[in-house]
Symmetry: D2
Subunit: 240 residues, 4 copies
Amino acid sequence: MAPPGQDPFVYALSSNSAWAGYKGHQNPDFFSRLTSGQAPDILWLGCSDSRCPETTILGLQPGDVFVHRNIANIISPTDINTAAVIEYAVVQLRVKHVVLCGHTVCGGPTAVLGDASVGGVLDIWLTPMRALRDAHAEELDSISSEDKQRAVNRLAELNVEAGVRVLMANAAIREAVRDRGLQVHGTLFDMATGRVRDLGLGTAKMDKGRGAVPEVGGVVRGRHAQLVFGGDGAAGMRAF
Amino acid sequence: MAPPGQDPFVYALSSNSAWAGYKGHQNPDFFSRLTSGQAPDILWLGCSDSRCPETTILGLQPGDVFVHRNIANIISPTDINTAAVIEYAVVQLRVKHVVLCGHTVCGGPTAVLGDASVGGVLDIWLTPMRALRDAHAEELDSISSEDKQRAVNRLAELNVEAGVRVLMANAAIREAVRDRGLQVHGTLFDMATGRVRDLGLGTAKMDKGRGAVPEVGGVVRGRHAQLVFGGDGAAGMRAF
Amino acid sequence: MAPPGQDPFVYALSSNSAWAGYKGHQNPDFFSRLTSGQAPDILWLGCSDSRCPETTILGLQPGDVFVHRNIANIISPTDINTAAVIEYAVVQLRVKHVVLCGHTVCGGPTAVLGDASVGGVLDIWLTPMRALRDAHAEELDSISSEDKQRAVNRLAELNVEAGVRVLMANAAIREAVRDRGLQVHGTLFDMATGRVRDLGLGTAKMDKGRGAVPEVGGVVRGRHAQLVFGGDGAAGMRAF
Amino acid sequence: MAPPGQDPFVYALSSNSAWAGYKGHQNPDFFSRLTSGQAPDILWLGCSDSRCPETTILGLQPGDVFVHRNIANIISPTDINTAAVIEYAVVQLRVKHVVLCGHTVCGGPTAVLGDASVGGVLDIWLTPMRALRDAHAEELDSISSEDKQRAVNRLAELNVEAGVRVLMANAAIREAVRDRGLQVHGTLFDMATGRVRDLGLGTAKMDKGRGAVPEVGGVVRGRHAQLVFGGDGAAGMRAF
């Protein structure tokens, strides 16, 4: 944050300049390597929240993570902005991992659980989360009566689950999962500890279900036996 | 990047854990302060490119910058994803600065100048940039004949200009510019140097035009004389 | 259709001119009344299909039905185009009925059941229908083995059901249902007979469930007891 | 409109039934031919306004016109709903004409010229029209001082012009214009007369410019002279 009395934009530019000077000093090749292209392994789909800068919290570097961040990391199946990012990352850059990351203390679930209208565009944007709250009203009400913040975090988790299901239904992702083993993960950033927790969803869930259910069941008829959407994975797809 | 042979997702999680441990050690209050809320001064609208992690390149910290990143940092006036981010940042969080940031060596302008179809959704998403290329075909062709990369960077710059015009037409932004002095900036991240350059667009341009044109001219009839969209500023709005 | 050898656009303009002449002759006040404003009772959300012109098949007149038509009458919760139509019709024009209408022999379900990729943007647009197919794979496969066309029509019906659930979660619609008795209907246009069939969804379903479940518990806290989302209605909302 | 005291939805269903009975009587093959498929010549992009039912005002029949209707017939380059309709109509159905149709006495321009905020989602949806108003403030103010309604209609016309430019930049349309002579038209429905007026935009404008530039051939091919959108057409692209 800018020191008191200093303009935050001016401060950010001077801070950038200091970073660039330091980085170039530390590693003289750094920027010339950056200009030669990108080959990130990870696509990060996260929240716009200022407290979740993916590269920083993952302890990684410029060039490591391709990124889309929006309000409450909502993955809407027909959103063209998100779809364009996914297509570029999965088809063109051929990332190996898609990581959807929600976080605790998120403003989206807080607004939705408070049930107040939050303004025109946000009301529409948050519709999927409101539907999710209704679908899990009993559980959320019961948690909320004991601890409001825990209900907020539980809805954030449910939102990641729903988002992962949407990702698993995306045509480009399906193809890459089947053809080259792309992995899809659902995670939660716990602000109280700074840790990103793997929720074991997406392709992980699909793999786990494999032993139990040897049948495809018509969801995705992939060319490789291990790609069946069985067990929990099938439910995931179906609950959409 | 993950060391050779190591899974990039597993590596990212362990790297996150190391970061969290270090951060908490360095500043024991860090995460408890994070959980208490966010009050960022800056909304960053940037590219999904893995080489442009805003908080890292600005040398800032979690909590400082609210973020939306999409393919080629295109600001489309009716995109609900972008609009929801702007509304939340400007109306709810009351950020002081909106910073649109393009970058050199960007894949979007490269694709558009190459004129190859890049796939279904991306073709639609990049339509505004293709129109921009057509509108500036003469200038871009002339640059391109000497130096292709410079034409790519020039189109990236034109794209920021166009995006700033869209931002200046957004209802929530207009109101905040008028009522509480919100500033809108257009910038370009030069990968060869690591520096973010201020292009002097948006509210800066508006201010510069002030002396020259004392008349509002019907664009935005604000309550404060200094908010006229005159001189270059008016042209900005008008060229949309 | 234009007679053979005639340009369809030129023919359409001349046909329009003939219609206007006839209409004005038949009812000299017709066009002057049109210019004085609109007060439609019905918002129609239907398919772009050329065979479903709502005003024609309903036997109604210009001024009677406010309209949005898109590919496969998909109601996507965060689609701004659809949301803007709903907001204008429900909040500004205060229509009394929202009618979502699918139809038999629809190209959307046909494409989705064929499981072929249909192109970039359509693939994304049809994602919700593909998820619906997966969620009902067993039923659809069983029907399809006997009669492919019947499976297409069943998926069209499921798509209307899903769309009505999205409509019932829309903030503007919820408020109008609660405050002024707006009705929401799901229907199917059967091309073989020309009849629009009421599927008994939306507010009709909600009413039916009333007797069974008197308490909602936080889904919609309306002012009128009869507007609870109980019984089947509640399930409707929850299955989103 | 439903007779006083009658439920508009119930009335619409009974009116549909009467229409179906009449139509089947008049032409016993009508509905069986409908079920066999659609082959419309025209894609209509029009306003949701209840007074503009395309098939009715064009004096045409079910099966003749493929349709997308939204608020104020705004063509936004990255709107996925509109883009999906265009792709299906142009690529799959191979329509011969794309007709964008605005109309007089339209609520969109009226709201925008009044400069009142019209609500969250509509504010965003109407942003392109607001920018258009700003870009033509002088002309519109001057007309408005004499005749407000004429300024509304002029803005409706400017909106069609802008929309046609967006259509001419759409990749699927460009390809079809080049490869198979698809025509793009801008029109205005005058409610006072019931007539649809051809504004001479789109491919018509391109053709007119052809004399000046000997080759149109292929809309955009490469970096050279043949890249011009001849005559007025070039200006069209540039003003985007």
